[in-house]
Symmetry: C2
Subunit: 473 residues, 2 copies
């Protein structure tokens, strides 16, 4: 545990000492302590979760910078909060007391792309979309596509085991991470995992690091498996529904049909209206819910699957179904999905839920979310990776309305309870961070939490790295 | 660490005491101590690895039996060596000194198959093929197919992260394990993981348990993800080659083509002759190497891929290429692959290698294996999951020829060294067990080994579970 300074003068001296040591190690433009920067880096996109002002923000440019900061922190009894682009939605990168925020955003080198072996090695700060574009030039595809893929980093994606839209068919970040370079809690560097297609030498410490939210090590380099870019033909099928429940029924029917769509997303009326008010996309008026599907099988099979999805939507009561086969038309139909989150953020601070229920429970869960919204008198918009059962009810409170914020928090907890009652998990893809600590406590139970604590103690005995995150302490 | 009895009389009394306690806990037919049973359960299929005679063999029938044995062992300073069907090839289930072998083979209940959510829950002793058949009745598919799938258990598959033939396209056991029930080192039961499609609550302890060879807990129940059975059309393409190297060239060319085959296996001349001598399958005479491929895309795309694979084989110098589209013809072409290992075991004790190199290094590695065979004057047959770069050179020593056994061991070590030189890993799918401890020591390095030891210490502080396996101590 850290040597927490007891009183203000001591705390001030401690902070000044830590900053002085950082400045002795790193160039001035990599150690930032001005108030706006500290405020900007004090939290990720989960402003509802608690955060503290960090002692300093360090912008690492090399692995040796990461090593230097972790060593200094370990020696000074200071915590390190690693951070990619800060797009997290659970507070995993929120600064804790007595901490240095260590940003990897400047470590942006793509180290290697091996087209024949189908892997790439990238530094932690490489943007997901940059990596995607770089490997595409070699005819390869990096599937994981969190909604933040244009701005989030591969290191942050790995640290949170990020999901995305295509994971209903192609899996999540962990499924693509072959190996990691990690700076451990004492500043030592290890290479975990492999580059070969298979390998079972020892425990899966790579998989353990993925999703551990910087609590077991700082990821500086990621080796990802790639798929061939060819061999897919995207077809979009979009259904307009009169109710969230009807769209949910279509999701359950598609899930039970044996077709595995490459995307299956729900946008509800609040989302549709927010996007249309912002960008005037000409989305259908009077529609309550859009269900956006993609299939990507090639040729006649893809045509059959698209037709089946369309008729399953109709059978579930779609008011209209649109299909698109041209790339730009497919993108146009999915644009509303991409714009939904920023469009909603314009309406006020968004408290993002991230529950995952069995696919068949999607209609029931959507109904219960609506009930929670009514009961607690809050606006809840729904974006959902519905094909996975991964729902993102977005609870919106008007800026500055503290009463609404309180009600939003109640609705948030109620939704978590309902999700667990339906056999779900409290976080599908955003991670525990700080926001889901109470839910994780219920879900994991005391003994599994003790296993987490034992693993944390084994790999970070002094609690240097991002304490209080990822599992209930 | 265990209280190892110092001398014979004490050891005898200790064993008798442990057996008496076991008999007090369990019915007579579940606690076996007769010499033939102890001999049979003293090791898995890796007879070359060291093993001891266990104190007793316990055949658990219920989770409570597993709990009782682990508690008794922990209290008595005895080790527990968990075991499925004993088909392992690295000695992971070999009995250690002062141990009880705890077999899960009688825990054969399929607890649940949820067709809509596409998962199944099975007790550890369910045979892979039994689970496969059971889920197929629901239109579902459990892909992982180790060569032992007709006799190995799902619990053993999970404990070793078993691979197989289709993993070149569909991944290994870990990719399908959603959750586990595990008896921990103190006898407490935990449920890890989830049943939902996605979930990131806490560390991936499920993935950590998978492949940990019973050193962190005893897996009693496995929840696996399933795929739809429909949507695949298998086409087999088999090329006959004049040399191992030419077949390796075809593997590298197929790998670089962007086609992901559903199987890509090599059988060399020694295998072909052994199978033909045993079963007279009418395999092509005078052929040095067979390359067996499957593609499973539907319709025209599948036809195109099959044609491409065939012409890549021809371009690499295949003497002949045969294709099959009917299920029984496909099975016939692959039958030689299924029979190869048992056919070779008829020639003498087999020391099974399990290296994995980059796909592009397959031709070079095959050449180096032949050189190692020549240098150490041993017979080496080659079976290879070539599409993954996962090679199984099988080193055969005539029964009772100790000199040949010694030379085989030298060739084994030489092959491991060559594999590492080519950027490979010392075990692709069989696990470290005991046989790959020296190779793992080189591959992992001291600090990553220390991480393993710390995790082991965290979850099994008294070293009760399968000590000395999975990583270098």
């Amino acid at each position: 545990m850290s040597a927490e300074p007891a009183e203000t003068e001591g705390a001030f001296a401690h902070r000044a000492e830590v900053v002085a040591r950082l400045r002795a190690l790193l160039p001035p433009d990599q150690v930032l302590t001005d108030a706006p920067t500290l405020a900007e880096y004090a939290h990720d996109d989960a402003e509802w979760a608690p955060f503290e002002t960090p002692i300093a923000v360090v912008l690492a440019e090399h692995e040796r910078d990461v090593v230097a900061v972790v060593r200094l922190a370990a020696a000074s009894g200071v915590h390190v909060v690693p951070r990619g682009a800060g797009t997290g939605l659970s507070g995993g990168a929120n600064a804790v007391a007595n901490s240095i925020v260590l940003s990897l955003e400047r470590m942006t080198r793509i180290v290697e792309i091996d087209a024949a072996e189908r892997y790439a090695v990238a530094e932690a700060g490489v943007i997901n979309d940059t990596l995607r574009a770089a490997v595409a030039e070699h005819g390869l595809w990096y599937p994981p596509d969190p909604a933040s893929y244009r701005i989030s980093t591969i290191g942050g994606n790995a640290a949170t085991n990020a999901g995305g839209i295509c994971c209903v068919k192609y899996g999540v970040t962990r499924d693509y991470v072959l190996g990691l370079r990690v700076v451990l809690a004492d500043g030592e560097i290890v290479d975990l995992g492999r580059r070969t297609a298979k390998g079972v030498t020892g425990y899966d410490l790579t998989g353990l690091m993925v999703g551990s939210e910087g609590t077991l090590g700082v990821i500086t380099r990621v080796t990802v498996k790639l798929l061939p870019l060819a061999g897919r033909e995207e077809r979009a099928i979009v259904g307009a529904f009169g109710s969230l429940r009807a769209a949910g029924d279509a999701v359950a029917a598609i899930g039970a049909s044996g077709i595995v769509p490459a995307a299956l997303e729900i946008l509800d009326r609040t989302c549709i209206e927010a996007v249309d008010a912002w960008q005037a996309l000409g989305l259908p008026h009077g529609v309550d819910t859009l269900l956006l599907a993609k299939v990507d099988e090639v040729g006649a099979l893809g045509e059959r699957h698209a037709a089946s999805v369309a008729s399953l939507m109709s059978a579930a009561g779609a008011l209209g179904v649109e299909q698109a086969f041209e790339a730009d038309e497919v993108d146009r139909l999915f644009l509303a999905r991409r714009l939904a989150y920023p469009a909603l953020e314009r309406l006020g601070p968004v408290l993002t839920e991230d529950i995952c229920v069995p696919r068949g429970a999607v209609p029931e869960m959507l109904t219960r979310i609506q009930a929670a919204a009514a009961e607690h008198d809050v606006v809840i918009a729904n974006i959902a990776h519905a094909g996975d059962g991964n729902l993102h009810p977005l609870i919106i409170a008007p800026e500055g309305d503290e009463a609404a914020k309180g009600r939003a928090k109640l609705a948030f907890d109620r939704i978590v309870d309902e999700c667990r009652e339906l056999g779900g998990t409290v976080t599908g893809e955003h991670g525990v961070g700080l926001l889901k600590i109470p839910g994780a406590e219920l879900e994991l139970g005391p003994r599994v939490i003790a296993m987490h604590a034992a693993v944390k103690q084994a790999l970070d005995p002094h609690g240097t790295l991002n304490p209080g995150k990822a599992f209930p302490g």
